[in-house]
């Protein structure tokens, strides 16, 4: 289980939507943020699901952002508690050179395909994931297309004049 001091630290860091003793506030968009270190993510997620003040049992989605100047991928987890009717956004950052993080699909099985999508499009590797392979792109596709430095290789379905094709500038005009 999660360590108790972790719960205390979480409670100090996040802004709670509903305080204890208050009437449940029906919040549509979660506005609480929690930024954690990637090494703590799995424990924090377990605490967010299990601790009676949080009970985030519904993983809405997860996604990633490519901050190419800061050389990090930011992973964003959207969680919601169907019992307490509160939401939270958990963010963490992994380095772009070796993007790797613990999978949370054992905590929320719904995160399985979300992590596969992030792996497919961003190339972030999830440790202990049961089935980490491409989900959107086809087998044999090379590269991770939502990375900012992705260079598209023209194939037989392309006309060769698209923006981003090697040899063309950003307006699609051939570079002499």
């Amino acid at each position: 289980m999660f360590p108790v001091n972790l719960v205390i630290e979480i409670s100090q860091r996040i802004h709670r939507v509903t305080l204890p003793g208050e009437k449940p506030n029906y919040v549509r968009d979660p506005e609480s943020f929690l930024t954690v270190l990637p090494s703590n993510l799995h424990d924090v997620c377990l605490a967010l699901r299990e601790f009676p003040d949080y009970l985030f049992d519904l993983p809405l989605q997860m996604t990633a952002v490519d901050f190419i100047n800061e050389k990090v991928f930011e992973l964003v987890y959207y969680l919601y508690s169907s019992k307490l009717r509160q939401g939270i956004i958990v963010k963490t950052q992994v380095p772009r050179t070796a993007p790797e993080i613990e999978s949370v699909s054992d905590i929320w099985p719904g995160m399985d395909w979300q992590e596969r999508e992030v792996y497919d499009l961003f190339g972030v590797k999830f440790r202990n994931h049961p089935n980490l392979k491409r989900i959107m792109m086809w087998e044999g596709f090379s590269g991770h297309p939502l990375r900012k430095d992705y260079v598209h290789q023209t194939d037989k379905y392309d006309s060769g004049l698209e923006i981003g094709t090697p040899g063309l500038d950003e307006r699609g005009v051939p570079i002499p």
Binding site: M137, W138, Y157, D158
Partner: protein
């Protein structure tokens, strides 16, 4: 032969005893049947498929032209590419086309399947379905209305006429000789038993 539904243009009529004799050619008759029952495959790819479904529903009712969706490519004459052809789907589209019996026709519906449309610069979208299969009729629009699909069906009917006439000499029904008509009349009289 002319386009449209007027079958009488390809017929010669002769009055005989007890009624009329209609003469035509097998080519005309086969073409008439072929263009009057263009059966498309039940196959949709993206939002153009919504317009295609509306075309098959009661308000536009393409069944009055004989356009009636079939659930298997083995029974289909027409493949309506209604939506974005992504590269992951392109081999499946090509295979569906190969599974259809000849003669087979393809209508490219909407900007996406014509040339990639708004997703032209995407890494995952094929830049037109004509990269993989031949296309007979292109419909512009994003998405095209059912009226545009109606026009495409009419254009395809005209094209079926022109297509089958192009490769061969147009055969006109040969009028029967006087002796043949006399024999037919005699046979008709004896058949009536009067």
């Amino acid at each position: 032969m002319t386009s449209g539904f007027d079958i009488l243009h390809g017929l010669r009529r002769h009055k005989i005893v007890g009624g009329e004799l209609f003469l035509t050619t097998v080519d005309f008759f086969v073409d008439w049947g072929r263009k009057s029952s263009i059966w498309p495959l039940t196959f949709g790819l993206a939002c153009c498929a919504i317009e295609m479904m509306a075309s098959f529903a009661s308000k536009f009712d393409f069944d009055r032209m004989g356009v009636f969706p079939r659930p298997t490519p083995r029974q289909a004459d027409l493949l309506i590419i209604s939506g974005t052809v992504v590269k992951k789907m392109a081999p499946a589209v090509e295979r569906l086309y190969q599974e259809m019996p000849s003669p087979r026709f393809v209508v490219s519906m909407g900007a996406c399947s014509n040339c990639g449309g708004p997703y032209y610069d995407s890494y995952s979208v094929a830049k037109g379905v004509d990269k993989i299969i031949p296309v007979d009729v292109y419909i512009p629009g994003c998405p095209p209305r059912p009226e545009a699909l109606y026009t495409a069906v009419q254009t395809l009917q005209e094209k079926i006429d022109a297509y089958w006439d192009a490769g061969k000499q147009i055969l006109k029904p040969v009028p029967p000789s006087e002796e043949a008509l006399k024999k037919i009349n005699e046979a008709a009289i004896s058949a009536r038993g009067s």
